[in-house]
Symmetry: C2
DNA sequence: GTTATAAATGAACGCCATTCATTTACTGGT
DNA sequence: ACCAGTAAATGAATGGCGTTCATTTATAAC
């Protein structure tokens, strides 16, 4: 018969309430766990209960470290901002640096579109890594001879394009299939059919490139 | 004392279950009520319960006419697409028509940013009025000598910019105030301070204009 | 007339974010 | 060495949400 001493279980013994020897949770751990949860279950799977469960903790415990679920989303988006590639500012010519930054920015957030409504509107003071990204980009623009009073406007415009394009990446392939209404919109249907299928390039990438190059060209002309 | 016959009450007598003389609800009525609700209480106030209440109906009654709340949002966004000004295509030069379309598009959706994640990803077959908008724009591009195989890409890029800019409109004024971290981001802080305060123009409008003009110029060069 | 159906009701469900009283172990002051 | 205060956990409870479903009934169709 089995020994009376309980075997170490996959389910850990239920922790008693009260202050533990060392804190189990912190914002970094919560952020990491949230990212893992998102990559396995998507944003629908990101609930406070699931997050707590993945950390081996009761849901209410999270609220000792974040004020709300929105707070978790802010932590996430600031973490992602640090993953955006700004390294080309300072090492590459301005236009190439913008190109790399924008593609990278779009790619990072296209996997995290539910954060876009938050980052687009969040005061930078609440997001230090995002702020650091802006600092690098701003310095790159200034060093490239950009007039200082237009730098922020240019960045805002580029960002708007990037966010919109990030959504576009997630659109289904047949988004432009008009179905039974096709006959009623002949010009549109024709244009969709002619959409050049460049090899190895998604339509969303072609559109992003087209817009980005126009913005880079247009803004490049502002440099002194 | 009051007569036994009940006076006509502000609260209507509770309707019995069963088929009414004429249908109370339809998709148009739901859409209109939803718009009113949003304009008075905002998108947080748009719940199925509140929507039903504003129509004098039980929440479950809505589900005879829409499959889900997302369905309501789709109705809303298609309704809004019809409000976007495409009238300049065909009457004005191409660049001016794009300008009017884009500004109008941005203005309409800046009041309805919660719909952006939906419209950005919804197949056009589910949104006839949106499709009609695309038809007008596509025809305008074609008539302006735009190469047919780039029309969709150009529209997608413009739309991405418009959606991102719509979010930007809703950002708080102090979004770029770095607060206590200002010293750590000197270039950024300086650029924010120099942000030219053009009279009568919001910074968000300045940025939109900057980006839009760059896109129009860049895309205009593609015309044959 | 009978039958079928569309369109309403209201009760119930499950999920979710959040709050709160409570417990407990560590920390700093005397 | 004690004591008080506090940080960090528990788990039960709450209220709101979208949605489902059995039921009812007026109208339309045969």
């Amino acid at each position: 018969m089995p020994a009376p001493t309980p075997a170490p279980s996959a389910v850990p013994a239920r922790r008693r309430a009260g202050r533990p020897t060392a804190a189990i949770l912190d914002q970094d751990g919560i952020t990491t766990a949230a990212l893992e949860l998102i990559s396995s279950k998507g944003y629908e799977g990101l609930t406070m209960a699931a997050l707590a469960r993945s950390l081996g903790v009761a849901p209410s415990a999270l609220y000792n470290h974040v004020a709300s679920k929105d707070d978790v989303l802010i932590l996430l988006m600031d973490h992602l901002a640090a993953m955006v590639d700004v390294s080309a500012f300072g090492t590459e010519p301005w236009d190439e640096a913008v190109r790399r930054w924008a593609w990278s920015y779009r790619d990072v957030f296209s996997e995290h579109t539910p954060l876009i409504p938050i980052i687009a509107v969040l005061p930078v003071a609440n997001a230090p890594k995002t702020l650091a990204m802006y600092e690098s980009v701003t310095a790159g623009f200034r060093d490239a001879g950009f007039p200082e009073d237009r730098i922020i406007s240019a960045i805002v415009a580029l960002e708007a394009f990037v966010f919109g394009a990030a959504y576009d990446v997630t659109a289904p392939e047949d988004i432009f299939d008009a179905g039974s209404l096709a006959e009623q919109v002949p010009n549109f249907t024709a244009a969709v059919e002619r959409l050049a299928l460049e090899r190895h390039k998604r339509p969303t990438d072609v559109a992003f490139r087209l817009g980005l190059e126009a913005l880079i060209t247009g803004f490049g002309a502002l440099r002194g």
